[in-house]
Symmetry: C2
Subunit: 342 residues, 2 copies
DNA sequence: CGATTTATTGCAATCGATTGCTGATGCCGG
DNA sequence: CCGGCATCAGCAATCGATTGCAATAAATCG
């Protein structure tokens, strides 16, 4: 174990190594890149020397020269929901899959949690010259900013809706209207007639889910549209918020469609506190199918979004776009997962 | 709205801008940096020109020159628990706070999810020249790798235990032995005598928690040490694993200490399935105090780690170390949060 | 054996921003 | 009217790796 003591001159640059090997920096560069232009012997010798001195080329320099950063930006825009924390399980699950896939493909992941107060928040990110492409987890209420940038910056892919009026930016997502419809139909099948929708509508995905619930009600010939109740994702206020909502409209509703599983879990909690039994007294349907949906008591019936596949589609689309090809939006079908809460 | 059409020559470099402004690149650089060495007028003129052409200096070049990247690496080592997904709520909660704090201080966050198969996984990261410092979320079973690097690379701070034999690396964490003791004492107070510890021991934090439980039992004069049952964090197998454990030792135990809230939630789920009532038939104590602990039914009694504070301490320590100062390890006291599950 | 490939390596420019130093200008007091 | 000083701008080197092109040596062929 002599690792700790490389006594004096640490090998920091390719030039240091070149001096040691008695060759020119250029040769070292080529040798380390494994190019065939250098003699196999010298290449091996240099590589051995490199590992011996645990030399690692400076990425900044390399990236400056090659104009390729090997970094993908993953951005979470919190336009509405400023208080929402990055620990939102949906974001995180998505982020986990993205990280897995990007790592596999040799990319690094730069994470930005942005509160879009300046209008050029996205420009700042894409023009920093720091990343080869950008993934947006959610569109929030920033449709116009995203459009503006997407028009000139190709390697940009968002998670969310792809059928918004005038949209040109590439988005991967599930059909939220269909998903809302599934939730609504399930609740109706369970006997619900007056459905509350817990979630706030500034993000297009959520708005579409609510719309889907409304469609289901209309199709079933039920006159009452869903009662929409703003519910914010900041975990510290969500419980009180839901409690207040139920206090207010409690008697008027007989079914709950939650905009996400996180909301559904909290709703279960609030209902349990008031002795309202799920699904018997009040069926509840979630959205997303996160791991918590299975751990909850009762297990949550929910509309599944295939997040793993979504992450893969996003990365694939991004890589195509980085390579200069085109990549269209993708709409995946949601699936109703029938469990115990409705 | 003429934003879309800067017809021909986009202003990409500081030299472009200099030409436009009729000054030298050096002056532009100083002007954009807001230095006082340039005339106030020219400075304003240049800055105006810069915004007009929405010019953003190339970060790669800047960082290469200044040797300061403005990036902090956040690394999640998955040494044991290869199957553990990045979406583990503890990691994510921590990551969220770290992201908030780092963003506030103008740093970018580069996320790496590492499976340490090569022994030099950490060297690869710190020597890449890509970041000013590195935060490790958890030590996993990589004590030696971390020590080796920490001995020569100062701006490195880990979350975890700081009292491991021979440890020199800076770690921020809670007193896991004390935490385990709190959990054990609570269970004992609830009448438990034969306690199961759900969690696997390769990570030092977890090992210490189990040890704390053992201490509590010993102190109370109970002869039976905790029955330790490996429980892995991969969400898809955890439930079956716990179910199998309970199947096997079910009758022999009368209290459960879970190594984390995630495990506790799943345990609740499994117990509910078999009609075992919590806390009446089987008290359960969690660890961490994540948001899910409050949403669970029943609400989980758990040992709280102040993750927000932990994240802050980590970042503060890291900044001190980046600045060349020293920063010692920090041990925070855990707190028992009494709720309904025990 | 001389001419021409071929295999390696070196040289030097380049990526784009930053910054120490020098030079030019203008203002001041003596 | 001149030396001295402050202010401002430009020049050119620098960060460290990469790469097109030139140069050298060795090998091949007629």
């Amino acid at each position: 174990m002599d690792e700790q003591a490389h006594p004096i001159p640490r090998v920091r640059t390719i030039a240091d190594l070149a001096r040691l090997a008695g060759v020119s920096p250029g040769t070292v560069s080529r040798a380390l890149a494994g190019k065939s232009l250098v003699n196999a012997e010298t290449r091996d010798r240099i590589q051995a020397l490199a590992t011996e001195h645990s030399f690692r080329p400076n990425q900044m320099a390399s990236r400056l020269r090659t104009q390729r950063t090997g970094v993908v930006g993953v951005v979470v825009p919190l336009g509405h929901e400023r208080r929402q924390h990055l620990s939102d399980p949906f974001f995180m699950t998505m982020l986990g899959f993205l990280a897995d896939r990007l790592t596999e493909d040799g990319y690094d992941l730069m994470l930005s949690r942005v509160i879009p107060d300046a209008t050029d928040w996205l420009e700042r990110i894409v023009d920093s010259g720091m990343m080869d492409g950008v993934l947006l987890i959610g569109q929030s209420d920033q449709f116009h900013s995203i459009e503006r940038v997407a028009r000139r910056y190709r390697p940009l892919v968002a998670w969310g809706s792809s059928n918004l009026p005038g949209q040109v930016h590439c988005a991967i997502g599930t059909d939220n209207i269909a998903g809302g419809r599934l939730a609504g139909e399930r609740l109706i099948a369970r006997g619900a007639r007056r459905i509350a929708f817990l979630g706030e509508l500034r993000a297009p995905e959520i708005r579409q889910r609510c719309e889907g619930v409304a469609q289901a009600l209309a199709t079933a010939g039920i006159a009452h549209p869903p009662i929409q109740l703003d519910t914010h994702l900041a975990s510290d206020v969500m419980e009180q918020e839901i409690a207040a909502h139920l206090e207010r409209v409690g008697g008027d509703i007989d079914g709950i469609a939650a905009a996400s599983d996180v909301i559904a879990v909290t709703t279960l909690r609030v209902l349990a506190d008031r002795g309202i039994r799920v699904p018997h007294d009040m069926p509840v349907v979630g959205y997303d199918d996160l791991p918590i949906a299975v751990s909850a008591v009762p297990r949550i019936t929910t509309v599944r979004q295939d997040i793993a596949r979504g992450a893969n589609e996003m990365v694939s689309a991004l890589f195509r776009r980085i390579a200069g090809e085109d990549a269209p939006s993708v709409v995946m079908p949601p699936i109703l997962v029938e469990r115990d809460s409705a």
